[in-house]
Symmetry: C2
Subunit: 241 residues, 2 copies
């Protein structure tokens, strides 16, 4: 059962194993078999130190033996087109979305393969918050944008399984059945009753768990700032005008 692992032992992740996992990851489905993604592998401590601020200095970036940045990439494919008397036309939103989706499928397939091999990992959502800084550190050219990051190593912790909403709160049949207030109460009841949720509310001095999200973790100011920053990154990388 998958668990996020944020602490790693000193044991290195060998190149042969990493390549096997990446080979398997690239078997994931992709749009038109164009494989419009790239993976940048960071092992060098100096490079990790440069990446770290873009991930808000979360300690996994420096501590993990391997950091993988998964990117939507239309640079390689467009270069191929130009060399083959074809005019590439992938500087637009739909191409970005397709390439981003394909990069995510590869990332998740990589995660599954890595966990099966006994490795531990953590996805970093900060990748799209500070995409421009990551582009600079990794020297990503036009038509390449990072979409997610995985920190990887041999597990040095075994955390408890995280809660999940009941399945019938996530799945709809035939049409989306919008939630009544009673549905919401029921779907979130287990999460709200957790000791960890109560601690979370108290530590942050809030009245409800939802307030911890809207007022502390994912605030309007943060969401809007990082939306603008990401939009700027997409313009600079050539996907949006």
């Amino acid at each position: 059962m998958r668990k996020t692992i944020r602490k790693y032992t000193d044991r290195p992740v060998d190149d042969g194993l990493l390549n096997q996992l990446l080979e398997r990851a690239c078997r994931a489905s992709n749009t038109g078999n164009m494989q419009t993604y790239s993976v940048v592998v960071t092992r060098d401590m100096e490079q990790k130190k440069r990446l770290s601020p873009a991930h808000f200095n979360q300690p996994m970036v420096l501590q993990a033996p391997v950091v993988l940045t998964f990117c939507a990439d239309y640079n390689r494919f467009s270069h191929w087109c130009r060399l083959r008397q074809a005019e590439p036309c992938y500087d637009n939103l739909q191409s970005l979305v397709g390439a981003g989706i394909d990069a995510m499928l590869v990332a998740q397939e990589f995660a599954t393969a890595a966990e099966e091999a006994g490795l531990g990992l953590c996805f970093l959502g900060t990748t799209t918050y500070n995409a421009q800084e990551i582009c600079e550190v990794l020297r990503l050219p036009r038509l390449v944008v990072p979409v997610t990051t995985i920190t990887l190593g041999w597990p040095a912790e075994n955390p408890e399984l995280q809660d999940r909403l009941p399945l019938d709160g996530i799945v709809h049949h035939e049409q989306y059945a919008d939630y009544t207030d009673a549905d919401i109460d029921r779907i979130y009841a287990e999460k709200e009753a957790l000791e960890s949720s109560k601690r979370f509310i108290e530590e942050n001095g809030k009245q409800t768990l939802a307030q911890v999200f809207t007022e502390v973790r994912y605030t309007r100011e943060g969401c809007e700032t990082f939306s603008e920053k990401f939009r700027d990154a997409l313009v600079r990388q050539g996907f949006v005008k």
Copy 2:
């Protein structure tokens, strides 16, 4: 080894199995454990007929016993916030991107679980081309957008494994090493030498495989039209202004 399956037997996919697979899929990592995604399960033939044009009438939609539409969903979470004296603020690009990423991780984890159970499936990239039509058929409310679709059933075909680019054409170390013309020639050599590629060029009356992509399959006109359509869908669903 994963293969896209587009033909399915008449054997039904039972609800118990489907729920098991969805439970496992929801174990995928997600941002802040907010689970900002939903899955709409379509089994009803009338509903499939309504969905079919949005997927350009690809025959899998009608033929598969189950069609699953994976959606970025901030509607449920925002409803919870409003019921708990918290003001939701997720009507923006960064929230969409986070929710979209989480929905893709669930979709790929679902695919892996389904294949391990012996099922066959196909991802439909058309989901973001015609998102607005899908929103209407599935009655997706504000702050819900479909990101990918899986058609699912018991395999009635066993196609050959598709080619992939060599791994060193996809993976970069420490920094993105932009491709020279010689790199591109080498990376695409195997794909270009395939009999299927040669047939593809001939059938479409083109000179190069790249031209089949830029002039037939993923043209500028198509990419730009579907970029605008998707942007409109994002505006209508409330993620973009």
